[in-house]
């Protein structure tokens, strides 16, 4: 592959915007020549691979992909996609790591959450999509997710969904006790006190310590506890943004204002349905789960902007969300890239949005019809307006650790102590920091 092809790829992608290289001008021979991530592949080659056909194995648990695959195969009849649900989240990562270690049975495409992406990227498990002209897609995606698939100068996936945060609250409960819906976290703390005093069975929220949630709040507060430059990592939980979070959360914990109920448990679903859990600060993907999993709360809940750390601000953060990636050991990468673009940047986006997924594409977020969708669960509220605004206001500059999967797994060992004993939250965070530093150094990173 010459420099010329690379330039041509960049040029054509730039011109065509969404990259629908229509002319399948026969560079068939290129199909086999892409072993490593540094190769350059043009849109034309991708298109050719799609028309030539083949089999593609996709590991993903995202339920809306089923329809996407069906429509994709309709459009490219020669392509057969084998969609496998190899487990959710860390279960699938284990399966991926096992397959990679065995060198056999590695899928072509894998769903990976943003927090885990750097780990797979640095382990050289993923294909850098820069060689496929993915840079040119930057404008298509909202800033949070796009930032998340960029790691160490490479682009290791295309964003599939995103989780700009919002505050979901049970309006009935707030109305009943005459409590104002909080716009800052200080007000949130006040609301928590008032609510619990008015009804000792009711709590402002449930929380038993969730690494993803805690880091999202630090992110929103402008904290940057993780600074990553290649294999040089700095971890610091005394950063001013983190301290904002620690101050408020310490009080919520000490005053026992958080229900000791773990998310997704039996009691949690009951609490959401019966009003004893009054708010939920989480990603915009939540509405679909409300509808199917807690039908008892329908009509009572509303969405609002995430409370702010500084009054009058509009900062937001991402919570959850995942991308589709191309495995380095997978075969047929052109075809895989074709699928990625179809599912995450092309027709697939609308199919998934229609099925209740929350998109990561700017175009959908600006779509008037989508913005006007009324949510029955939220009493007819046009909640997407709030989510879209949140997506635009995600604080920039956040990064996860290149070993975040491990770090999250010991969150409850360390920070969790603050929830069940008199250990101060700050001490718990310090212990989390120490253990992460230790692990990072053992794994060959330079961590301070």
């Amino acid at each position: 592959m010459s420099r010329f092809t690379k330039m041509a790829a960049v040029a054509s992608a730039a011109v065509l915007g969404l990259g629908l290289a229509a002319c399948g001008g026969g560079t068939d021979d290129a199909g086999s020549g892409s072993g490593s991530g540094s190769s350059t592949v043009t849109d034309a080659q991708v298109q050719a691979a799609l028309e030539k056909g083949g089999t593609l194995t996709v590991w993903a648990w995202e339920p809306t992909l089923k329809d996407v695959v069906a429509k994709f195969q309709e459009k490219y009849p020669k392509v057969k996609v084998d969609l496998v649900n190899a487990g959710t989240s860390d279960k699938q990562y284990t399966a991926l790591q096992n397959a990679i270690a065995a060198g056999k049975g590695v899928p072509d495409v894998g769903q990976i959450e943003y927090y885990a992406l750097p780990q797979f990227a640095i382990g050289k498990a993923l294909t850098d999509l820069k060689g496929y002209g993915a840079e040119s897609l930057k404008a298509d995606f909202t800033p949070g997710p796009w930032n998340s698939v960029n790691s160490n100068g490479g682009i290791y996936g295309l964003p599939m969904d995103s989780g700009p945060m919002a505050l979901f609250y049970n309006k009935d409960v707030f109305d009943k006790h005459g409590i104002k819906v909080p716009t800052t976290w200080t007000e949130y703390l006040d609301a928590a006190r008032k609510l619990h005093k008015a009804d000792p069975k009711a709590y402002i929220a449930n929380d038993t310590g969730d690494a993803g949630f805690a880091t999202s709040l630090m992110w929103q507060a402008g904290g940057k506890p993780y600074q990553v430059d290649g294999t040089n990592v700095k971890i610091d939980f005394t950063d001013p943004g983190v301290q904002e979070y620690t101050k408020v959360w310490q009080q919520l914990i000490s005053e026992k204002l958080l229900a000791p109920i773990s998310s997704w448990s039996d009691q949690w679903f009951q609490g959401i349905g019966n009003g004893s859990i009054a708010t939920l600060a989480t990603g915009a993907w939540m509405p679909a789960n409300f509808v199917t999993s807690a039908p008892g709360g329908s009509g009572k809940w509303r969405a609002a902007e995430l409370p702010q750390w500084t009054a009058g601000g509009n900062a937001s953060a991402e919570n959850g969300g995942s991308s589709l990636t191309i495995l380095d050991k997978g075969a047929n990468k052109e075809l895989a890239y074709g699928f990625l673009k179809y599912a995450n940047d092309g027709d697939g986006v609308q199919i998934r949005v229609d099925n209740g997924a929350f998109p990561a594409t700017s175009k959908t977020l600006a779509d008037q019809k989508w913005l006007n969708t009324e949510f029955k669960y939220f009493g007819g509220q046009k909640a997407n307006e709030i989510f879209a605004k949140s997506a635009q206001n995600v604080v920039t500059g956040w990064s996860y650790l290149p070993f975040q999967v491990y770090a999250n797994s010991v969150f409850n060992d360390t920070v969790g102590k603050a929830y069940v004993s008199s250990t101060p939250l700050a001490d718990g965070l310090k212990a989390w920091q120490d253990q992460s530093v230790k692990y990072g150094n053992e794994q060959g990173f330079t961590v301070k």
Binding site: Q119, P260, S262, S265, D266, Q267, Q270, N412, V420, E442
Partner: protein
């Protein structure tokens, strides 16, 4: 090691063993088992031991480190705290469970029970419940907000302690384990009692021996082998405690650490941290500890009961 002594009951040496002179004839019966066993147990163990001599890092790749992983394991406070926890569990839960199992087995065997088959089935049934359901069930029962515990608190105006708090979690797990395995052990004892010749205690009864005496001097010695082996397998089971903490961790993430039991620690190391080399070393150390404890118990068990 001398484990086979316990395993070969005295009866075997008295009668039926074919020849004094060693031959290979027995292998036609034991061979198939051992072949599959070698494939699914010994080979992976060998592989794990091999892996335990290396260290594969995210950055820097794989390198031979000799016994470094073992040295790390022996001085790892998280590992030792997990060993201590299952040790305590072993001392409290296993005796309670085996005692209850023996009690039920003897009751079933006594012939003085109404509805015997019903009890036999019902007490065994928990063992058959799939893990995922056990999780949902006990999650409901232990729930202090809207679960059974919460309901009892509301109805009776009491405040029971939260079974999922750190100081009670081990007892709560012990309760689940007991629930699951009483029936299992009961069945072992019961089927062992089945082969005790009825005539033995019938004549004892005629001689005027009471029920307790018959139990103590005939039945229990007769199922000694089953008692010892149930104990040993319970010890191994305790040291390998995994499912129950893994289930409850979703509900009590702060009370159950990632190094709650040695087996759970090995799991966390492998699957969350990708430290499978170190995990293999931890597993080998734990196996050695288990074997030593099982061996000591077996020696004492055969002495006291024999």
């Amino acid at each position: 090691m001398a484990v086979p002594q316990l395993a070969a009951p005295p009866a075997a040496s008295r009668m039926g063993v074919r020849r004094r002179r060693p031959s290979f004839k027995g292998w036609q019966f034991v061979g198939p088992f051992m072949f599959v066993f070698a494939l699914v147990f010994l080979a992976p163990i060998g592989y794990a031991i091999y892996l335990s001599l290396f260290r594969n890092r995210l950055i820097g790749g794989n390198q031979f480190v000799g016994l470094d992983n073992y040295q790390q394991a022996l001085t790892d406070p998280q590992f030792w705290s997990s060993v201590g926890r299952v040790g305590l569990f072993l001392l409290v839960q296993v005796p309670i469970m085996l005692f209850l199992a023996l009690l039920v087995a003897l009751a079933l065997d006594s012939g003085r029970l109404y509805g015997k088959s019903f009890f036999r089935v019902s007490i065994f049934l928990p063992y058959a419940v799939p893990t995922v359901v056990a999780a949902l069930m006990w999650g409901f029962i232990y729930g202090s907000q809207f679960g059974l515990v919460g309901n009892i608190n509301d109805a009776l105006g009491v405040s029971l302690p939260d079974p999922l708090k750190p100081s009670l979690i081990l007892a709560s797990i012990g309760n689940i384990t007991t629930w699951e395995f009483v029936g299992y052990n009961m069945l072992i004892f019961y089927s062992a009692l089945q082969v005790v010749p009825k005539s033995l205690y019938e004549s004892a009864a005629i001689d005027g021996a009471g029920q307790w005496r018959i139990i103590r001097s005939i039945k229990i010695p007769a199922i000694r082998g089953a008692l010892v082996i149930a104990t040993i397998f319970s010890i191994i089971g305790s040291f390998q405690l995994f499912n129950e903490p893994a289930i409850l961790r979703n509900l009590a993430p702060n009370a159950i650490t990632s190094y709650f039991t040695p087996n759970f620690y090995a799991y966390s190391l492998t699957f969350a941290g990708q430290q499978f080399n170190y995990s293999a070393a931890v597993a080998v150390v734990m196996a050695v500890i288990t074997i030593i404890v099982a061996y000591v118990v077996q020696l004492r068990g055969t002495k006291e009961l024999g």
